[in-house]
């Protein structure tokens, strides 16, 4: 649907987290369909405020008319990014993948610098926010994990994403063991950053570069009979939504047809009668924070569905608030206040539920909510592992 379908009802504005707290952002209706009527390719992009949009896509989920304000804004972000010099912060975050690869190689030193006072001061001078601790680089990334091959029939190529790879490879390993326990072959295909951080920082050329490399790699696996499974909901959204649309990747259609969220995939295994998992009691009280990009995937809340089978688990779903971090968005100093205010609001709602742990599919949501609340954060896959008795050992 294009911007002409907007009936200007403002439901998107009500759902925009940024608009609530940052008066400099005119909201998805004005920044999206309204302003689009005045944009022309023959004129230079002058609306720098489009960069204040965090691309949470809540406006698109809310629109009753099928207009996609975030998509309109995303395109304008790319146009603006192309026509204006990139700031150091934007360049850094767009290249997050290389930066993290370097950080992981030098993990002990990099972590020390990132958490030191001087390091923080340096980051602030670059316009990088330090209100929550940086995630810790992990020397043993997932990339070095040995391929586990069982004798299963179903074959999966696991797109684990940068966050899991560089910061939390332990969760990645758990997911591999979880799938293996379900009689599924898991391989780790060659992969790069999905490209979302580059898009979010207005660097379409770099996003396209990553996307083409990933697409070639994943496409080979799909041809060989593999399904692709992702765990990071933002990577998933980029693969499924941005590859075919804004990035126009030729293999995108094939990838979209064969790519699943890990929990969606497990549900498919159960529905196909391929497995009958024996969920055992987990005594936890969890607040399940739904990442904005999981909503945007239009697959419902598969992890919530799976967790509902676990006896003893008390789970309250919260899907009304964005955590505010939105990947690298909240790490930029000019978005810091927005991110903190949104994060605190989300944390207040979580605390109101009286639940003890925070569960979220997205690493950056967990980082933000854990950092601001001091509560334990978990990936839904960790809860499943706990229930199915999949242990922590390597």
């Amino acid at each position: 649907m294009n911007y002409e379908h907007c009936i200007r009802c403002t439901i998107c504005v009500e759902n925009c987290p940024v608009f609530r707290v940052n008066p400099d952002f005119p909201g998805p209706k004005q920044a999206g369909p309204d302003a689009q009527r005045f944009r022309s390719d023959r004129e230079r992009a002058e609306d720098g405020w489009v960069l204040l949009c965090s691309q949470c896509k809540r406006c698109e989920m809310a629109c009753p008319c099928g207009v996609e304000p975030a998509q309109i804004i995303l395109k304008e972000q790319q146009r603006y990014g192309k026509e204006h010099p990139q700031t150091a912060t934007h360049l850094l975050f767009a290249n997050n993948y290389y930066l993290s690869a370097l950080g992981s190689l030098t993990a002990p030193i990099a972590n020390m610098i990132a958490s030191s006072k001087t390091g923080k001061k340096f980051f602030r001078s670059m316009g990088i926010s330090t209100y929550i601790p940086f995630p810790k680089f992990n020397f043993r990334t997932l990339r070095h994990e040995k391929k586990k091959i069982s004798k299963g029939r179903k074959k999966v190529a696991f797109f684990y994403g940068c966050f899991i790879n560089f910061y939390r490879p332990d969760i990645g390993r758990k997911i591999i063991r979880l799938l293996s326990s379900m009689n599924v072959d898991v391989v780790l295909p060659s992969q790069w950053c999905c490209g979302l951080p580059a898009l979010g920082n207005g660097n379409m050329a770099l996003a396209k570069y990553f996307a083409q490399k990933n697409a070639a790699s994943l496409s080979n696996y799909i041809d060989a009979g593999y399904d692709v499974v992702y765990t990071c909901t933002s990577c998933g959204l980029c693969l499924l939504h941005d590859y075919p649309n804004i990035l126009k990747i030729p293999q995108a259609r094939k990838i979209a047809e064969n790519t699943y969220d890990v929990h969606e995939y497990i549900i498919k295994l159960i529905s196909d009668n391929y497995i009958k998992p024996d969920f055992r009691e987990v005594k936890r009280k969890i607040a399940y924070h739904i990442p904005c990009h999981l909503r945007a995937l239009e697959i419902g809340y598969p992890a919530a569905k799976l967790m509902s089978f676990i006896p003893g688990l008390e789970c309250e779903i919260l899907d009304d608030s964005c955590c505010g971090l939105s990947g690298s968005y909240g790490f930029k100093e000019k978005n810091e206040q927005t991110a903190i205010q949104l994060g605190n609001r989300a944390v207040a709602l979580i605390k109101k539920t009286g639940m003890e742990n925070i569960v979220a599919d997205c690493g950056s949501c967990r980082m933000q909510l854990g950092g601001l609340s001091g509560m334990t954060t978990l990936d839904p896959a960790e809860i499943l592992c706990e229930s199915l008795g999949i242990s922590d050992q390597k």
Binding site: P23, P64, G66, A304
Partner: protein, 401 residues
């Protein structure tokens, strides 16, 4: 283990859909609700208009034309549906006030009065006549709310303006839920002089805790306090939607957002599944019965072409009042546009008439002959028909086995 099979799929997340879904979930049925986006209920004033024709909504309903869908619902069910609504809203910390026996007025941001039946507690103190004096508190730069309109229509009305630092309904509402902001605001408010006034606010007093905020302001000033609904974005409408949504979830219902139904699977006289084209591959949800609560034109349930009106999900036959010339009155603001009668004609069990389907039940604004604007019966009709549709659906499911 069946995973994506449901007993009932509800299509539409408005007052009708969420209410029907909740009733069914309370019966222990597995319910999924699918929706394209958020409902037009978010744009409403939050008030439950039952029927505005007379002082007593029930007598007004009796005087409606014979084909009006209200007549398919018995009086006890209409009463039950409203009483149940009051109970649910109290439980969800958004208490409403009012009774089915009496309509009341709420003040609009133009200074006119609008008839409603059940209203949020934050509007309870609205003056019912024109004599009482009111003092409006507005906010600097707040678009779409000008006390001047109200003052031009009303004696004994004055206003003061507060600078909240932000100027949209949504952002002012969120600031009211920040402790520091609220305390600073109260300090400012204490310095104002109120005489015999009631204090009025545009409806921006918070999103989750409006009732408490109104109560605090009222206790502090010793004056009755009430909210005036704004044009969209409307906080009272959003509060209503949020409360109904949370209650539905609490009862075990599941919601699929951004899930426009783009196809159906059928067999014989039964609908077996609804499908959407998610990113990538089609996704379908199976169920034994379906409740259609997609609303009218604005809600997205109906689409008008030059020649005909189409029902978007099941392509059910749509009743139109006559040829296109009869759809619109000459006066734009008329309440008698013929198109207000367009919708789905149903039988006594709220199944669509003249269609083969045994397991579809229809409720809310998509029903034919509602003339919601003229009769002032939006949310009230949604509640009543949702209860009726849910009941018919339960009866059908119990016989089906």
């Amino acid at each position: 283990m069946s995973v994506i099979e449901y007993d009932v799929v509800i299509i539409g997340a408005g007052v009708a859909g969420l209410t029907a879904g909740t009733i069914l979930a309370e019966r222990g049925l597995k319910i999924a609700l699918v929706t394209t986006g958020e409902p037009t209920a978010c744009l409403s004033t939050g008030g439950i208009d039952v029927c505005s024709g007379r002082d007593n909504p029930l007598s007004a309903i009796r005087e409606l034309p014979a084909q009006h869908p209200y007549h398919l619902v018995s009086d006890p069910i209409i009463k039950d549906s409203l009483e149940n609504f009051l109970k649910v809203m109290t439980e969800m910390n958004l208490p409403y006030t009012g009774t089915i026996e009496k309509n009341r007025n709420i003040l609009s941001s133009l200074g006119t009065y609008k008839t409603s039946c059940l209203v949020p507690l934050t509007m309870e103190a609205t003056p019912q006549g024109t004599d009482e004096s009111i003092h409006i508190i507005t906010f600097k730069g707040l678009k779409d709310f000008y006390p001047g309109y109200i003052i031009s229509r009303r004696k004994n009305t004055r206003f003061s303006e507060y600078d909240a630092g932000v100027s949209s309904t949504m952002s002012i509402a969120s600031r009211f839920e920040e402790k520091a902001f609220f305390e600073k605001f109260l300090l400012w408010l204490e310095k104002l002089k109120f005489q015999k006034d009631k204090i009025a606010f545009p409806a921006v007093l918070g999103l989750e805790s409006a009732t408490e905020i109104v109560h605090t302001v009222s206790t502090l000033t010793g004056k009755p306090v009430f909210e005036i609904p704004t044009i969209p974005p409307s906080m009272p409408g959003r509060r209503l939607f949020n409360a109904l949504k949370k209650y539905f979830r609490k009862k075990g219902g599941e919601i699929y957002w951004s899930w426009p139904v783009t196809g159906i699977e059928k067999s014989g006289r039964l609908i077996e599944a609804v499908a959407t084209s998610s990113l990538g591959r089609p996704n379908s949800i199976n169920a034994r019965a379906f409740i259609l609560a997609t609303g009218s034109f604005v809600g997205g349930g109906l689409t008008a072409t030059r020649e005909a009106v189409i029902e978007n999900i099941f392509h059910l036959p749509v009743h139109v009042p006559g040829p296109r010339e009869t759809w619109f009155d000459n006066d734009y603001f008329s309440l008698n546009h013929g198109i207000g009668k367009a919708g789905i004609i149903v039988d006594a069990s709220l199944r669509p008439a003249d269609s083969p389907w045994k397991n579809i039940f229809v409720c809310g604004a998509i029903l034919a002959n509602t003339e919601i604007l003229k009769n002032g019966c939006g949310h009230g009709l949604a509640l009543a028909t949702a209860h009726q549709a849910a009941q018919s659906c339960v009866e059908y499911l119990s016989h089906e086995l």
